[in-house]
């Protein structure tokens, strides 16, 4: 019975370690606002728009402030619609001709969140006809699975299209594909301008491009740089058709796979953490703004779109959170869900030894009260208070002493 009672105490402690920090965060959480920042291809510095208490300031990284009209003109890649309406959009910049249409076609937004990768997926993929007879893409009437073999399943009958499966499987094998794949990346939606099919990383870390062209397989093998381990690929299918995809490695390096020869180029920004950091790339004709947001800061890197050189960077730190009291009260916290991961599982986070301050005080209090009541001091209760501080004491109050059934 004693063991069960200890188990009951431990369970209570874990539940408290889940509920109390959660309540604490609800009570103290502050929003994390970073200013809107974008690299100006005109002023060659960052334009910053910050709103504090409904007061908007427009400035650049050098400290100059701007009026709205001036700000529009240093960021023509953002405010080109406004500038066009006012007739103030220059017809060229850095010797490149531009108008509203050209800018819109070359602007892109690529977003990556860790939860995109860390979630349950049903591994059945839609392969569209890349050269449809009509303008719009159409659902193909089947889905493929790719394990050791590629198979097309038809939803209407829940059966396999053997002929098509063999044809596509043979095409993949011919290029050296060895299943099961680690990554199968594509965009299974008809609401896109065109279709570039799938980028697939096989069990040997080799990259393949698979498309369906006129009902037949198109497979190409792509040479990756040495010693990289891809964990995520996004097929972009942007209107400018400059590149096929972005690729992220396990150590947080970023690559672009270009059209016309499958050149794989690294984006020259420091590695980020693909398990915890959010990534946003805002690209335009001249520069790519690579924005990495971690728990403590947001950094924006400006990279030249044509020469692929890192031009500049700027970092904004999150406001310091006062976690001293939290760290003293709670030795650890338990969570089951995470913004970076759709899976539910226990995640324990230790806060350090700061909790010992409260644990020792609580233990002393416990001993004094027991003495005052002329009751004996229970070893397991005392031990749990010492080890888990607040949680241990509350648990002993809620379910009673560990030794008493």
């Amino acid at each position: 019975m004693k063991i069960i009672k200890i188990l009951l105490s431990l369970t209570t402690i874990f539940l408290l370690a889940w509920v109390l920090p959660w309540l604490w965060n609800i009570a103290t959480d502050k929003p994390n606002h970073y200013p809107f920042t974008y690299y100006s291809s005109v002023a060659e510095t960052f334009g910053i728009r910050e709103t504090i208490n409904e007061q908007t300031t427009l400035k650049d990284a050098q400290g100059n402030t701007y009026t709205q009209a001036q700000f529009d003109s240093i960021l023509p890649m953002v405010y080109f619609r406004q500038l066009t309406r006012e007739g103030n959009l220059p017809d060229s910049l850095q010797g490149v001709e531009m108008n509203q249409k050209i800018i819109a076609m070359n602007n892109f937004y690529f977003r990556y969140r860790p939860a995109d990768k860390n979630k349950p997926v049903i591994p059945l993929y839609t392969l569209f006809e890349s050269m449809p007879k009509r303008v719009d893409l159409e659902m193909p009437g089947d889905r493929f699975r790719l394990t050791r073999k590629l198979e097309f399943v038809q939803p209407e009958t829940n059966t396999i299209d053997i002929e098509k499966s063999n044809q596509f499987d043979a095409a993949l094998r011919e290029k050296g594909f060895l299943g099961p794949p680690k990554i199968v990346a594509g965009n299974p939606t008809t609401r896109k301008a065109y279709d570039e099919g799938y980028f697939i990383v096989d069990s040997q870390n080799k990259l393949f491009h698979l498309k369906m062209v006129n009902g037949r397989p198109y497979v190409s093998s792509v040479d990756l740089p040495e010693n990289i381990n891809p964990v995520w690929i996004t097929v972009t299918e942007y209107p400018a058709r400059q590149f096929y995809a972005f690729l992220i490695t396990d150590d947080g390096r970023l690559f672009t796979i270009f059209t016309g020869g499958y050149e794989v180029k690294e984006i020259p920004v420091p590695a980020f953490n693909p398990e915890r950091d959010n990534l946003l790339i805002m690209g335009n004709l001249f520069h790519w703004n690579v924005e990495v947001t971690s728990e403590t800061a947001q950094t924006l890197f400006a990279v030249g779109a044509s020469d692929y050189q890192l031009k500049d960077s700027i970092t904004f730190s999150a406001p310091e959170e006062n976690e001293k009291l939290y760290n003293i009260l709670f030795p650890f916290s338990l969570r089951f869900t995470s913004v970076n991961n759709e899976f539910v599982k226990p995640r324990i986070e230790f806060t350090g030894f700061g909790y010992l301050i409260s644990a020792v005080l609580l233990l002393l209090g416990y001993i004094l009260i027991r003495r005052y009541q002329k009751k004996s001091i229970r070893f397991w209760t005392a031990a749990l208070i010492f080890l888990t501080g607040t949680f241990g004491l509350l648990a002993s109050i809620i379910i009673g002493n560990t030794e008493e059934n």
Binding site: K119, L124, T126, P155, I398
Partner: protein
């Protein structure tokens, strides 16, 4: 118990009728697409059915025993109280598990006719925590009901609610895929806890 079984049967029939209707109306390909790319689970009405079934069974089985103090009487029979409780809980548990297995098998077979195994597996992982919640809830009811004092009944209730809440934290299909072992271990944990309640009843805590 019969009512619980009938409610389950009706809900299952209704769910499959609705899915059948959707497939007739918009086509299987679209339904597959909704499941796979938009992470929709078609049988989400099922979510609280096992939980309610477990709780109802637990309460209906043990509340009369407790309020009439019959269980104390049964403990005076020349059988050991362990044996009696094991029989009572074991009977309820096996009945409930049997019912859940039948429901689960029905869902599994039905889904297999309509969907690829990948989708069926995902569905099975989605309903697993719900069914385990039903078993947990049954044990939790016994754990709370058999406990003789209100001083401990309330903590037991809070603890059980907290634990069962864990199984309903995410609506994302197959979100519980990493922890089936932990979820099954939960049953064992509740068995131990209700054992403590039985013990306290036997020694006559007031």
């Amino acid at each position: 118990m019969l009512a619980i079984a009938i409610a389950g049967l009706l809900l299952h029939t209704y769910m499959f009728m609705r899915v059948g209707r959707s497939i007739r109306l918009v086509g299987a390909e679209h339904i597959w697409d909704v499941i796979i790319t938009r992470n929709q689970f078609l049988f989400s009405e099922l979510k609280y059915l096992p939980l309610l079934s477990g709780a109802l069974l637990g309460l209906s089985q043990f509340i009369p025993e407790i309020t009439n103090r019959r269980i104390k009487l049964t403990f005076h029979l020349p059988l050991r109280e362990k044996t009696i409780t094991t029989w009572m809980v074991g009977f309820g548990f096996i009945l409930l598990t049997g019912l859940f297995l039948v429901q689960f098998a029905g869902l599994f077979t039905g889904m297999h006719l309509l969907f690829a195994p990948e989708i069926v597996n995902n569905g099975a992982l989605t309903v697993l925590p719900w069914y385990l919640a039903g078993l947990w809830a049954y044990m939790a009811c016994v754990f709370v009901a058999v406990e003789p004092t209100w001083r401990m009944r309330i903590p037991n209730m809070l603890l059980s609610t907290g634990l069962i809440r864990i199984l309903f934290l995410s609506d994302f299909p197959a979100a519980y895929a990493p922890i089936p072992v932990l979820m099954f271990a939960g049953i064992l944990l509740f068995v131990l806890f209700l054992w403590l309640s039985v013990f306290r009843l036997k020694v006559g805590r007031q």
